[in-house]
Amino acid sequence: MAPTPCELCKTTRALVVRPKNHQKLCKTCFINIFETEIHNTITANSLFFSGERVAIGASGGKDSTVLASVLKTLNKRYHYGLNLVLLSIDEGIKGYRDDSLETVKRNAVQYDMPLEIVGYDELYGWTMDQVVEQIGKKGNCTYCGVFRRQALDRGAARLGIKHVVTGHNADDIAETVMMNLLRGDLPRLARATSIVTASAASDIKRSKPLKYAYEKEIVYYALHKGLDYFTTECIYSPEAFRGSARTLIKNLEKVRPSAILDVVRSGEDMARLVPEEVSGVGKSGKDILVVEGEAEGAGGCGSANGRTSGGEMADMEKQLLENEKSQGNEMEITLKGQKHDRNCKNLNRMPRKLPKQQMGKCARCGYLSSQDICKACMLLEGLNKNRPKTQIQVSVERKTVIQR
């Protein structure tokens, strides 16, 4: 078979097929177009301003490593004038985080960026190893995810940095759109699709410059640029891929590669239909309220970049079945304690029934929260009382008490 020439330069051998348009590109043209598209995303959304200090949430994994490499390149090429810092969270998982932190330390040298590491133990008084020792391996990803989200903001605050960028890619967003659509969680659907999340109650802004980048292309970029990234599954989520929404997304991609971006765009379109008072999202798509631990889905451990952690499709099916059984009880309390009408005939009335989300500060830790005690503090309360409870049970109980 004769080598396929690159569709852009027509001279070099094509190595990459772009998922979104089947374009066949050589290494140089691919790297160039990948970087240019991220630059376009950054400028189209005015993500940065000159002189801004930006923390890159760095796990040592492929997404954050590619993000750091691309931002480093673009900052120089287009004179963004950014002051970039790598920010890593140490969940305290022996043998897992140790190796990935070594990768981040090498990245700091390779990209000539300062590195800050913040540990769960200093923030919460618990390492993930200790959490697992207490609650077992099941459900610990919820703790890890909730703790992690706050940890990045707290780490940034400690450095006096007001903007955190994360490596969430198009596959991550598509997965979150699917999950929130199936859950019927419109506020979260709206927040998850927006490229910038910021809040009046917190001065940390978050953004996702890789939002439109396919995971497949991120891996290609890392491979062809010879980037040094770390890969291992979190040792506490061995079943991470079975029955996950991730698998669904990958299967869709296999049938029709453009499906991933189509899902992302559909999610954005649906988010626009969510009333502002429900989503907390301004019509401009900017200045968005974000509830701690929610924008990227409740699940997801640090290793998986906030993605769902497996088995959730089966869990949801079970939950939907149970919901159907309890149809007589028309109003149900959802995960966030919002009243939510399951009757399809009333669908267009539904948004008006959703209460406006009140953003305030956690009474205990002062962190941004829609409830008087934030998720992390509730999880910690359970841990500290030596009473293992899942997040869902805790929040429903709480909400029930409040409403009476």
Binding site: M1, P3, T4, R13, A14, L15, V16, V17, K24, K27, S59, G61, K62, D63, S64, G167, H168, N169, D172, E215, K216, I218, V219, Y220, L223, F230, T231, T232, E233, C234, F241, R246, T247, K250, N251, E253, K254, G302, S303, A304, N305, R307
Partner: protein, 110 residues
């Protein structure tokens, strides 16, 4: 019945990365002598290679982490001499001496 002697085995290099190496004895690079024809005498293509790896090289019991419905599971990239296997005929590509086949998981942590 054909008594034609089988051609020499095909020496190739197979690499696993992106977390897949964990399924293959935690070893990134494997030098193999692939039989020059498949189970039914068909040419040794990448489809055959994938089955061969699953049966002969992969010690991990979680076969579904590598192979689903008889082919590489979605989310695993296959590169033939640095090029996406789509550019080389996918699982119908016939392996040649000294080919380098790279399997990369995109499914592991970000």
């Amino acid at each position: 019945m054909s008594t034609e002697p089988s051609k020499a085995d095909v020496p190739i290099v197979v690499e696993f990365t992106g977390g897949l190496e964990l399924l293959f004895s935690n070893q990134r690079k494997h030098r193999l002598l692939l039989p020059s024809s498949g189970e039914k005498g068909q040419p040794a293509n990448t489809a055959f290679l994938v089955r061969y790896l699953c049966e002969n090289v992969m010690k991990d019991k979680r076969k579904e982490m590598f192979i689903i419905d008889g082919t590489v599971r979605p989310g695993i990239l296959v590169l033939i001499n640095d090029a996406d296997w789509e550019l080389e005929g996918g699982d119908q590509y016939e392996l040649k001496k000294n080919d380098n086949i790279l399997f990369v998981s995109t499914l592991h942590g970000g």
